[in-house]
């Protein structure tokens, strides 16, 4: 008795690409959606000051943004606040994240005393990493 085994029976079999393509698409969609999760942009209406000696620096998502408009109103992460509330928020940051950086977005016409008040508060709370953002032509291109 002999058994006839056809060694070439599965010759046409190949790896199905459909699951692989599915996986690739799922990954693609995942990364697309994940990168869309940005922090809420809370814009304030200011014209940034122009400087020729400002340095180019990489933005940091963890930076706390403080805005000052031309009337001297203070904004914390886009929401209008006052010095007392800002002081309270800074105290919390100084406890929880003492090395966090601050960025001041001031209007060109913002009164200098208001900028100094915020800087004084940063100094009092022990923050070291502070920068004043200036207008960059390349940024909005």
């Amino acid at each position: 008795m002999s058994i006839d085994i056809d060694h070439f029976e599965n010759e046409d079999e190949e790896i199905s690409l459909s699951p692989l393509i599915d996986c690739v698409f799922l990954l693609l969609i995942y990364f697309l959606v994940a990168t869309m999760f940005k922090k809420d942009d809370k814009d304030i209406n200011i014209d940034l000051p122009i400087s020729t000696s400002a340095l180019e620096m990489a933005p940091d998502d963890d930076t706390i943004m403080i805005g000052i408009n031309k009337n001297g109103d203070i904004f914390h992460e886009g929401i209008q606040t006052d010095l007392n509330e800002l002081k309270y928020a800074m105290r919390q940051f100084s406890i929880e994240q003492p090395n966090i950086s601050f960025r001041l977005d001031c209007d060109q016409a913002a009164p200098f005393y208001r900028v100094v008040e915020v800087l004084d508060m940063c100094q009092f709370m022990g923050f070291k990493d502070i920068g004043i953002r200036t207008y960059d032509e390349q940024y909005n291109r």
Binding site: P49, S51, A54, Y113, I132, R133
Partner: protein, 129 residues
């Protein structure tokens, strides 16, 4: 996604000390900045109320170029800018830019109220109105 770079002026804040005021620095050069954006040089004199007296600088860049450096290199000479508290931040940044262009990097900022008022008062007294 690639992040865009931002332009910033980094600020170095002085350390907190228990002193109420800094020790006077004889070497520091004081420049005033009035509310209307006028550059003022400290005359080194005080009026009867003890207020510093300033005189206007016509060309700030030229003034910096001709500043006596003494033993300092330009970038090390400490310059203190006494700015009026109501002046727009843009004017202060312009001043820092001019200082940077002229090679001065050791700049301190002070806040004053009505910096030019004593000079104006003195001028009014001299002119009799």
């Amino acid at each position: 996604m690639l992040k865009k770079m931002e332009k910033q002026i980094p600020i170095i804040l002085p350390d907190i000390t228990s002193k109420l005021a800094d020790d006077p620095d004889e070497q520091i050069h004081i420049i005033g900045l009035s509310e209307d954006g006028r550059y003022l040089a400290n005359s080194g004199q005080k009026n009867w109320q003890g207020e510093d007296l300033y005189y206007p600088i016509s060309n700030f860049s030229e003034y910096l170029k001709n500043l006596p450096l003494g033993n300092f290199k330009a970038k090390n000479l400490p310059i203190r800018i006494d700015a009026d508290r109501r002046i727009p931040i843009q004017k202060v940044i312009d001043t820092l830019d001019i200082c940077a262009i002229q090679g001065f990097e050791n700049i301190q900022l002070h806040l004053l109220r009505d910096i030019y008022a004593p000079v104006q008062r003195q001028l009014r007294n001299e002119r009799g109105y």
